[in-house]
């Protein structure tokens, strides 16, 4: 019984990782950039949700939508201001810019707001369901359900819409896509918008589920989500979902076995092992290097 409860704990944590990992993986898939500022978009999402609920008295779903919308715009702005002009620069230049943007958002936000933590208001009545001795909270169920719905919508957008088709084409071969008349700039913006909106949603979930939010809250979940993306195969959308869930469950199992101090280490050991033995990830194919 205890194990089922641990599994539920792990899946709730994993679905938050998965939502953040999706943004990493989509951006990497399309412009081969590891967007280290993604964890901070997650933080911004959490705070937008917080101000919407605590300040304006919005409910959970309006706050969630608002946070997603603000993050989408924010993600596009980051891309337009910082990354666009580096599209033809070396990859290390873009990577360092991403780190710089991340620090700028974190400390810029601290400068404006201060570094103290805030407590998320109780926006969802948290009911406990007792199923044969397992305590399931309505919050973790809701987080799970909404995450799955968002992932289904994402799948639909990527595979059934025109912009999704354009995204897949650009990620496959940017120049050829451009020659076919696809507007690469719009497509890349759309990718950032969708990825950032998902991170914003993850931020609101994190706030509701874990209560405490602060300006540096994006750092560790951001890095963990990066591990999840690599674990599933970076650039592959289902990989990010599975990678996130696996990572959440593994971390919970490590704690459950009594090694709670090793939990963070476990995530990075996974990263090292994956990079050593299967760099393309669980879902990765050994893709031919384009010449």
């Amino acid at each position: 019984m205890e194990w089922i409860q641990q599994l539920i704990n792990g899946i709730s944590l994993g679905s938050i990782y998965a939502l953040i990992a999706l943004g990493y993986t989509m951006v990497y898939g399309i412009i081969k950039l590891i967007n280290f500022a993604h964890g901070d978009v997650f933080m911004i999402g959490a705070f937008v949700g917080f101000y919407a609920i605590a300040g304006w008295g919005l409910g959970f779903f309006p706050a969630l939508l608002l946070a997603m919308a603000v993050c989408a715009v924010f993600g596009v702005l980051i891309e337009r201001i910082a990354y666009k002009r580096l599209r033809n620069a070396t990859r290390i230049a873009a990577l360092i810019t991403a780190i710089g943007v991340s620090l700028l958002i974190e400390y810029g936000f601290i400068y404006v707001r201060g570094a103290q933590a805030a407590a998320y208001p109780d926006v969802l009545a948290n009911k406990k369901y007792d199923l044969f001795g397992i305590q399931v909270s309505s919050q973790s169920l809701l987080i799970l359900v909404v995450s799955i719905v968002l992932m289904i919508i994402l799948h639909f957008v990527v595979h059934r819409t025109k912009i999704g088709k354009a995204m897949r084409a650009v990620s496959h071969d940017m120049e050829a896509a451009q020659l076919m008349g696809i507007n690469v700039n719009t497509t890349i913006s759309a990718t950032f918008a969708i990825g950032s909106a998902l991170a914003g949603a993850a931020g609101v979930f994190f706030g509701v589920y874990y209560t405490k939010i602060e300006p540096l809250m994006g750092v560790i979940p951001g890095v963990k989500a990066f591990v999840a993306a690599v674990l599933g195969g970076i650039g592959i959308i289902p990989g990010a979902m599975v990678g996130g869930l696996v990572l959440g469950v593994v971390e919970t199992i490590v704690s459950a076995l009594g090694f709670s101090q090793w939990r963070d280490a476990a995530a990075f050991i996974i990263l090292i092992l994956i990079l050593l033995f299967r760099p393309s990830g669980i879902f990765g194919k050994n893709a031919r290097e384009k010449v």
């Binding site: 641990q6 400390y107 601290i110 109780d122 405490k212």
Partner: protein
């Protein structure tokens, strides 16, 4: 390669500039006037900002009162606050600045044991008095050689005393099986856990599970699920409010309904916000004082504090910050000087039966005050006075 290293350099420089921005709000040294400068090396931002802010409010109130009554020896007190961002390395930097640049007579701070430890040596070398209002780790006033550090004092009681009070309280509740869930990185939590365990086991109780967590963590559910299966009747959680708030909330969500107990690290309004008032029912803390204590001096202090801070009720950190100033001023009065730090230090060490808000203080040979502790219970988010325990 050259290009890459150049890029790395730029990014490091860039990061440095950013870090500089964040710390741009510190106060720089005041002018050399005819005032007595007292440094305040406090956690004004970061993880335990509410402690530092609380102490600062207490200090400000005490200084305002003393200056209004004519100051010390005709001179006014002036506080020089520095924010250590709740980090040990920043606390060291702040102490260096206060000792060398501002040349303060004494430093009050920091709120936590770890941040205080980061500056004891600097204060001692600079022959500047350091009084920590709330650093409770047993060995804080001792140097690496085990001897008392001449210039370091404290206003609060020590961890082993708090752990003992908590263990005795659990025994009085009739608890036989207890669990401990402690912060693994702080000297404070480890000291409390140790003395709790010793006292509780000596009284015939059994510690059925012992787990620890990492500071800044947010997910405690899996470890709590483990603790729950050990079926303790009582869980002792020494730690600071940011994590404890989440632990209490998550524990209640997992159906852990037994009494939870902590120490002065829980004392913050943020704890109630994080945990939720309802989840905090059936939890207890040991603390330095209670604003609900009927004692007359305490009630007078509560009144003066509410007047200055828009009706707010002073918590233990407010009271300790306030007391630290009076402890220092008492020593200055007895030493008959406001500048000779050595004489003031000697007078501090001889403090005897000084009545302050948080109890009657006598400084012992290890520079620790002997004083009483209070047990409080949370009822619907309010701290309710339970009992007072003498050493």
């Amino acid at each position: 390669m050259k290009k890459i290293s150049k890029l790395l350099m730029t990014s490091v420089l860039f990061a440095g500039v950013l870090a500089g921005c964040a710390s741009g709000n510190e106060t720089t040294g005041g002018s050399e006037g005819d005032t007595i400068k007292v440094g305040a090396n406090l956690e004004l931002s970061g993880a335990v900002a509410s402690y530092g802010e609380g102490i600062k409010e207490g200090i400000d109130l005490a200084i305002e009162e003393i200056n209004a009554a004519g100051g010390v020896d005709g001179k006014e007190l002036e506080v020089v606050p520095v924010d250590n961002k709740s980090e040990g390395s920043e606390a060291t930097n702040a102490a260096i600045k206060l000792v060398n640049q501002d040349k303060v007579t004494a430093i009050i701070g920091s709120a936590t044991s770890g941040n205080t430890k980061a500056q004891t040596q600097i204060a001692d070398e600079g022959k500047t008095i350091l009084i920590t209002p709330s650093g409770t780790a047993d060995d804080l006033t001792l140097g690496t050689d085990g001897n008392v550090i001449d210039y370091v004092f404290r206003t609060s009681f020590i961890d082993s005393f708090q752990g003992k009070v908590a263990a005795n309280f659990a025994t009085e509740l009739g608890i036989k099986n207890a669990a401990i869930y402690a912060d693994n990185a702080s000297d404070y939590a480890k000291g409390l856990a140790k003395s709790f365990k010793e006292t509780f086991e000596a009284a015939g109780g059994k510690v059925v599970a012992e787990e620890s967590y990492i500071a800044d963590d947010t997910d405690f559910r899996s470890t709590l699920t483990n603790l729950k299966s050990a079926e303790p009747e009582f869980i002792f959680i020494p730690g600071y409010y940011e994590e404890v708030g989440l632990i209490v909330k998550q524990a209640r969500e997992l159906g852990i309904d037994v009494p939870l107990m902590g120490a002065d690290g829980w004392d913050s309004p943020t704890l109630v916000e994080l945990a939720g008032a309802e989840n905090l029912n059936n939890t207890y803390i040991t603390n330095h004082y209670s604003s609900g204590d009927p004692d007359e001096t305490i009630q007078k202090f509560v009144e003066a504090f509410s007047k200055k801070y828009d009706g707010a009720k002073p918590d233990a950190f407010n009271a300790l910050g306030y007391d630290s100033v009076y402890l220092l001023v008492d020593a200055m009065d007895r030493a008959g000087t406001t500048t000779d730090k050595e004489k003031i230090k000697d007078a501090l060490a001889e403090t005897k039966d000084l009545s302050l808000i948080t109890g009657k203080i006598t400084i012992d040979e290890l520079h620790n005050p002997t004083k009483s502790a209070t047990v409080l219970e949370y009822k619907d988010g309010e701290q309710v006075f339970k009992s007072k325990v003498n050493p």
